[in-house]
């Protein structure tokens, strides 16, 4: 590979508290050789390729902690190739994939399969999760030790919650000893039974069964209670309400160590956006009140929430063209993750640095991976974007195989211009 130098860019890398105009030199092995305001063109070897990024911002490649790739079993929704294209077009270079495939990733041979398959077909860094319990049944714990040795980064039942308190306590007790990361979807099934949107005015008007915020809060309370007994690496996949945030605040103030994620959907939409039964906005956890949304945004600001995820959930048209209660849950979002997050910068609710931090170094730290940073010596996974470019989201133009975006027609400001993976230019916007 030829050495490259990116010049005249504004570099924002929260991992080294950097926000400055400068240059980056990528060496022939795809590593960051030099970075910052003091790097001069003459520091690069004379034959290197010069890329002028005047008016663009350079950040570490985004780490998305929650995405569903259809392989194996749901290739008609998404595959490694289409997921990679969508991710790179959104500046995402590292993706944590969910294990709720068919078959489920809960054993060593499945891990071998998806790692091999991903290596052959994907063009991003994949970090696969295995299920927390065998067959995502919520009963018996998976082989945490063996699966970790094979390259599993974390354990989650994806869109399911371990309901049995005894099972959960054993999982946390065991995990606390061997140091694996537990990622929980937080939902009490008895309380959320048949529910499909937030329990409130909209569910009353639309005549849909609601899901109370208590369904989420009660599992968080339970798990954090267990966590104080069994201190393991514990992460809450996504929260959706102000009340959950209050519980988290109380526990973090007590000194309990855990991390929290939120979906970009819950940060940028509320229950009113569902309108007249828009099934693309049927999400889990559900969209809640505007008051919840603004609380989540301030939760990021105050550091109570650590990461923003896309919760990329591709669903085909058939699954969505149904009466609301029967329709599939979830929306795609990996390609629009950064542009949608930038909305919070443009409307002045969050600092740009804070947004970038939740998308890069924070998830990398939780996952304990050497990503989300462009410090000297790290892999040159880089996202270059235009902060102000206006555009409108059109599902059909997105790269994902499924087109179920929750923000069809939304006017955004800010778009990814280039994505580098290990120093190679793998995406450039037209």
């Amino acid at each position: 590979m030829k050495e490259k130098i990116l010049i005249n860019a504004r570099i924002i890398d929260p991992s080294q508290k950097m926000d400055e105009k400068g240059s980056i030199i990528i060496d022939g092995k795809g590593k960051i050789k030099m970075i910052g305001k003091n790097v001069k063109k003459s520091d690069a070897i004379s034959s290197s390729e010069v890329i002028d990024l005047k008016n663009y911002i350079v950040i570490p490649g985004i780490v998305d902690m929650k995405a569903f790739v259809g392989e194996p079993g749901y290739e008609y929704k998404e595959n490694f190739r289409t997921l990679s294209q969508a991710a790179l077009a959104g500046g995402v270079t590292s993706v944590v994939t969910m294990p709720n495939t068919k078959p489920i990733i809960d054993n060593v041979s499945m891990v071998d399969f998806i790692i091999r398959r991903g290596r052959d077909k994907a063009s991003i860094n994949l970090f696969p999760c295995a299920s927390l319990t065998r067959e995502i049944s919520g009963n018996e714990m998976s082989e945490f030790g063996l699966l970790s040795k094979k390259g599993i980064i974390g354990f989650t039942d994806a869109i399911k919650t371990v309901q049995n308190t005894e099972t959960m306590s054993k999982i946390m007790d065991y995990a606390s000893d061997i140091g694996v990361l537990i990622m929980q979807h937080v939902e009490d099934y008895e309380l959320s039974k048949n529910g499909c949107i937030n329990n409130g005015e909209v569910s009353t008007r639309l005549g849909l069964e609601g899901i109370s915020y208590i369904a989420e809060k009660i599992i968080i309370e339970r798990d954090l209670s267990l966590l104080s007994e069994f201190p393991c690496r514990y992460h809450i996949n996504q929260i959706s309400s102000k009340d959950s945030l209050d519980v988290i605040k109380r526990n973090k103030e007590k000194g309990l160590k855990f991390s929290v994620g939120v979906s970009i959907n819950n940060l940028s939409l509320n229950e009113n956006d569902i309108g007249d039964f828009k099934t693309f906005l049927k999400l889990s956890p559900p969209l809640r009140l505007e008051d919840d949304r603004t609380s989540l945004v301030s939760g990021i600001k105050s550091g109570l929430i650590d990461v923003i995820v896309s919760d990329h959930t591709p669903e085909d048209e058939e699954g969505k063209r149904l009466p609301f209660a029967q329709a599939a849950t979830g929306a795609i979002g990996i390609e629009t993750l950064l542009p949608l997050a930038l909305e919070m910068h443009h409307n002045e609710s969050l600092d740009l640095t804070k947004i970038i931090e939740t998308l890069t170094i924070n998830p990398a730290k939780i996952l304990k991976i050497n990503k989300g940073t462009i410090k000297k010596g790290s892999d040159a996974d880089i996202c270059v974007f235009d902060l102000d470019k206006p555009w409108a989201v059109k599902g059909d133009d997105l790269k994902s195989k499924s087109k179920n975006t929750a923000i069809e027609g939304r006017k955004l400001q800010g778009k990814v211009f280039m994505t580098f993976l290990n120093g190679d230019l793998v995406f450039k916007s037209k």
Partner: protein
């Protein structure tokens, strides 16, 4: 022979009756006016008109229904339409056909109006996006039952001349009731004050946002009410998770002559049927022709549905 081109794509969009929420006050009043004219027709020896001659009406019922289905059936026939009723609960959909597929199949038969009853809220809205004819909602999930509210309004107007200024109480399982929701919207629109009364577990969240006062005490909720609408309590909800027992429900929320005294002196009782006698309403009270409008509701239901079919079937 040349096949005639399908010109349906350039036809103007038909209007649908999906719910009271989407109705303007003018539209609601127009339906009620039209319906008034049909009351006397339905009482006369010769009940048949040819207003809808040559038109095809399909009743698509995904959920079992006796009175709504027969009411729509009769209404269509009295207007001279060709009426076909499909009880889908036990056919294609059980074989995995989706609502959309069924809609496309029926649409290809060129109906002029489809009347749909479905267990899922919003199903009529989805159907209306996929067919070229008018869609009338005959009840969807717990969302709306617009023709029931309209027939209730007509029944009240028939007795009390107007709805404006009346105080109306809706009592019982508000949470699961599409009748309650449609009536809240319509009675509010026509100028009534609406109270809802029921146990807390059967009260939907943020119901006050729909423009009502909510009560858990019959005495307070019925105070000065001119109309008392009772709702059916589904069997499966009588015991266990929503309520302790049938007895306890009757004790606190069942309408008895004693509780009716809390309402205004000339208060009238309504019920969308079918009734659970001795659960939500005292059996004698339900049959008392001086206070109960139950039979009139059924009678005027046909007139209201005739008016809806006439207006929406174009």
């Amino acid at each position: 022979m040349a096949v005639q081109k399908n010109t349906s794509a350039i036809k103007s969009q038909p209007k649908h009756l999906l719910g009271i929420q989407n109705l303007s006050i003018q539209e609601a009043k127009k339906i009620l006016e039209e319906a008034k004219a049909f009351i006397s027709l339905n009482r006369s020896p010769s009940k048949k008109l040819d207003t809808l001659r040559g038109k095809t009406q399909i009743n698509l019922f995904f959920e079992p229904s006796t009175r709504t289905q027969s009411s729509f059936d009769l209404a269509g026939k009295r207007l001279g339409a060709d009426v076909m009723t499909m009880n889908v609960g036990n056919s294609a959909l059980k074989k995995g056909e989706t609502l959309i597929d069924t809609a496309m199949t029926l649409n290809a038969m060129h109906p002029d109006i489809i009347v749909i009853r479905h267990q899922d809220s919003g199903a009529p809205n989805l159907l209306s996006q996929k067919v070229n004819c008018a869609v009338v909602n005959a009840g969807d999930g717990r969302r709306e039952h617009p023709t029931q509210a309209l027939l209730d309004a007509l029944t009240i107007i028939n007795r009390k001349k107007t709805i404006e200024g009346l105080k109306i109480a809706i009592c019982g399982d508000i949470l699961h009731s599409r009748v309650a929701r449609s009536n809240i919207y319509l009675m509010n629109m026509l100028g009534a004050e609406v109270n809802v009364i029921g146990p807390k577990t059967l009260m939907p969240k943020s119901i006050e946002r729909l423009g009502v006062k909510s009560f858990t005490d019959m005495k307070k909720g019925l105070d000065k009410c001119d109309i008392v609408m009772m709702l059916r309590l589904q069997n499966e909800r009588m015991q266990g998770s929503f309520l302790p027992s049938k007895r306890e429900y009757y004790e606190f929320f069942g309408l008895t002559p004693e509780k009716l005294k809390f309402a205004s002196k000339d208060a009238l009782i309504m019920h969308p049927g079918p009734m659970n006698r001795g659960v939500e309403i005292d059996t004698k009270l339900a049959d008392d022709i001086n206070v109960s409008l139950v039979k009139e509701q059924v009678e005027l239901g046909v007139a209201v549905r005739m008016a809806c079919l006439k207006i929406y079937c174009k």
